[in-house]
């Protein structure tokens, strides 16, 4: 698989009155052609900041890329000028936002908003752009596009608006599509429709998707690979199966344990204790250590490096160090591991 985007050692800070908030503290990941990479993590973990920086949409007056590279094609986006970025935005990399109720311009027709990137990047004539916009509306499943194209956002429901936002994002068939919690503001039935639509369009347009979410159920549905972020860093990254069935980092364990399952009965839902780290004064060791029941002394002293679990699976926890004691992961995680091993064993038998 070919790399389409390469983020290495990214550091981003926000300058506030209280001081420098180190929102991103060394993020590394690659995005391959045609894949969907989900970034999960709680609020404030740096998911949105990372992806906004890929489009350089962070507020220029108080944010700063301190260090690192964001390589797209041959351009380092971290160093790109505003002019260069204007050519990339909407054409090579585009974005779907969280709240469809507020992400469309209320005073502009849907048609105009979809045609805008077409006129801008593909230099289509007005008629051609309109034709293409009609096709896009049809593609994202909006009925009667000829009527709808002349309407304004307030004449659309939330789910329909998100389809329009998707049509705008896909107008120029971008190489990378960033979806920042695209289903969070929608109700569950519409969520499923939007996710299906995105999966189908991804196949047609052959784009890579970075999918930000804090909903692990959504992740399981759409992602090929998953990156778990905590305190401005990626703490674990791997394929969907690896993250869901063989998680290594105690934070991932916590996330998986706090997922409700169909057969969970009256017992209380698991909650990760404590609060996220204060990135104004980032902790010295592992940022998750104060909330981690498996924390060791070294977690408070030194940051864990990325340990390799498999070719595709990495996790930053000292528990993977050869000298670390063997610990017992939470029951929910053990169950999953067991299911996974059983499945693998079954598929091995089936293969023979």
């Amino acid at each position: 698989m070919k790399k389409i985007l390469e983020v290495s050692d990214l550091h981003i800070s926000f300058h506030t009155f209280a001081g420098e908030v180190q929102a991103i503290r060394g993020v590394n990941f690659d995005l391959f052609e045609g894949e969907t990479l989900a970034i999960v993590g709680e609020s404030g973990s740096g998911k949105s900041v990372t992806t906004k920086s890929i489009m350089r949409l962070l507020p220029p007056d108080n944010s700063e890329i301190k260090k690192g590279k964001i390589l797209f094609k041959d351009t380092d986006i971290a160093q790109a000028t505003e002019k260069q970025m204007q050519k990339i935005r909407g054409k090579d990399i585009s974005m779907i936002f969280q709240d469809p109720m507020t992400s469309l311009n209320p005073t502009m027709t849907i048609g105009k908003q979809i045609m805008e990137p077409l006129l801008k990047h593909q230099k289509l004539s007005k008629d051609k752009a309109r034709e293409r916009a009609l096709k896009l509306l049809d593609l994202v499943g909006i009925p009667k596009p000829e009527i709808r194209i002349k309407q304004y956002p307030h004449q659309f429901s939330g789910g329909m608006r998100q389809r329009v936002v998707i049509a705008i994002a896909l107008a120029c068939a971008p190489k990378v599509l960033i979806a920042d919690e695209p289903t969070t503001a929608l109700d569950v039935t519409i969520q499923a429709q939007i996710l299906d639509l995105m999966k189908e369009l991804q196949k047609q347009i052959e784009t890579s998707i970075i999918f930000i979410t804090h909903d692990l159920g959504v992740v399981a549905n759409v992602a090929d690979r998953v990156a778990v972020m905590y305190g401005g860093k990626i703490v674990e990254i791997g394929t969907v199966d690896e993250i869901f069935y063989n998680p290594q980092h105690p934070y991932t364990w916590g996330l998986i344990s706090s997922m409700p399952s169909l057969d969970s009965g009256d017992e209380e839902l698991f909650v990760i204790p404590g609060t996220p780290p204060d990135l104004l004064h980032p902790p010295k060791g592992d940022a998750f250590a104060p909330r981690n029941p498996y924390a060791m002394k070294i977690d408070l002293e030194e940051e864990p490096p990325m340990f390799q679990v498999s070719d595709t699976h990495f996790a930053a926890t000292w528990l993977l160090h050869p000298d670390a004691p063997k610990v017992d992961p939470p029951a929910a995680v053990k169950e999953r591991k067991a299911i996974y091993q059983a499945k693998q064993a079954a598929s091995l038998k089936g293969g023979q």
Binding site: M55, M85, Q86, R89, G90, F97, Q98, S103, T107, H154
Partner: protein
């Protein structure tokens, strides 16, 4: 749309009727009559005059007569200006006031909006501070101070424009500027505040994410959304300007309506008071109607609610 307009015009007529009636009775309740203050008049002469102008009849009859004439388009005859018809007086006096008001409004809002946009685009830079400073000056210093200043510098010292006269466009420039200061300041402040809010909204981020430059984002996407609250204050401001700023008219010796209105109240010149009030009310209601239509043009969400439901 046509249905909506017809409905609004009917409302407009009702509003005007109520305003005219209220003004009529309020005026009659005021002490004094047009001829009471004239000490030279004998009792007989006063009776003759009262009879001539119908002031001897009971008030309800006077009211009915007046309203009948108004419907026919006759606003009566002035008591103080040589029996001239009020409509003619209004026509002569309204022109300069309307012209000045319109010019001041036009220049004021355009410059004000531009200043506000610049201030919002370059927030917390010297452009923003400069525009804020100008706006504060414009709002806090009364227009007659500017008027006197303009007269002194441009009229007297430089001699570029006539100091105080009313012939031709040249003599309207300085009063227009003096009157425009306030709308400039108001529009600039409104625009800046609203645009800063608009700039932080999601659809502006999306507009940037499409690859629009800062200018394109501001002019194609932001301004129209930022205009909505400004339109509300523009209506009453327009009426205030068009009906004449008394002081500015006086300073520049402009034969406008503002001065005449005040004079007519002092002398109990009933027909003029009534005529001017009805005309002002008419202007105000028409401008409010225009503002409402403008709203619909700027904001499609309002267009539908106002138009289709009615």
């Amino acid at each position: 749309m046509a249905k909506y307009l017809i409905k609004r015009i009917i409302y407009l007529v009702i509003t005007l009727f109520i305003i005219a009636s209220l003004t009529f009775f309020l005026m009659k309740f005021l002490p004094g009559s047009p001829f009471q203050n004239e000490e030279k008049l004998t009792e007989d002469q006063r009776v003759i005059l009262d009879e001539k102008y119908g002031l001897d009849k009971p008030i309800p009859v006077q009211y009915a007569n007046y309203m009948m004439n108004v419907v026919k388009g006759d606003l009566g005859v002035s008591f103080q200006f040589d029996n001239q018809p009020v409509t003619k007086l209004l026509k002569n006096r309204m022109g300069p006031s309307l012209q000045l008001g319109f010019q001041a409004m036009f220049i004021g809002t355009i410059i004000g909006i531009l200043l506000g946009v610049l201030a919002a685009m370059f927030q917390n830079t010297w452009i923003d501070y400069g525009s804020t400073f100008l706006a504060v000056l414009g709002k806090s210093i009364p227009s007659f101070v500017f008027a006197a200043l303009l007269q002194y510098v441009i009229g007297v010292k430089l001699g570029w424009l006539p100091v105080a006269s009313w012939n031709g466009f040249a003599s309207s420039i300085m009063p227009t500027i003096a009157l425009a200061i306030f709308p400039i300041a108001t529009a600039a402040r409104f625009m800046r505040t609203e645009l800063i809010e608009v700039f932080s909204s999601d659809y502006i981020t999306l507009a940037k994410a499409k690859g629009n430059s800062r200018m394109e984002v501001s002019f194609k996407h932001a301004i129209r959304n930022g205009l909505i609250p400004l339109v509300t204050v523009l209506g009453p401001m327009a009426v205030g300007l068009m009906t004449g700023s008394m002081v500015v008219e006086k300073i520049f010796a402009i034969p406008g309506i503002g001065e005449q209105f005040v004079k007519s109240i002092m002398t109990n010149d009933f027909p003029i008071i009534m005529g001017t009030t009805i005309f002002f009310a008419f202007l105000l209601t028409v401008i409010i109607l225009i503002v409402d239509i403008l709203y619909g043009i700027i904001d499609p969400r309002i267009r539908l609610q106002g138009g289709d439901k009615s």
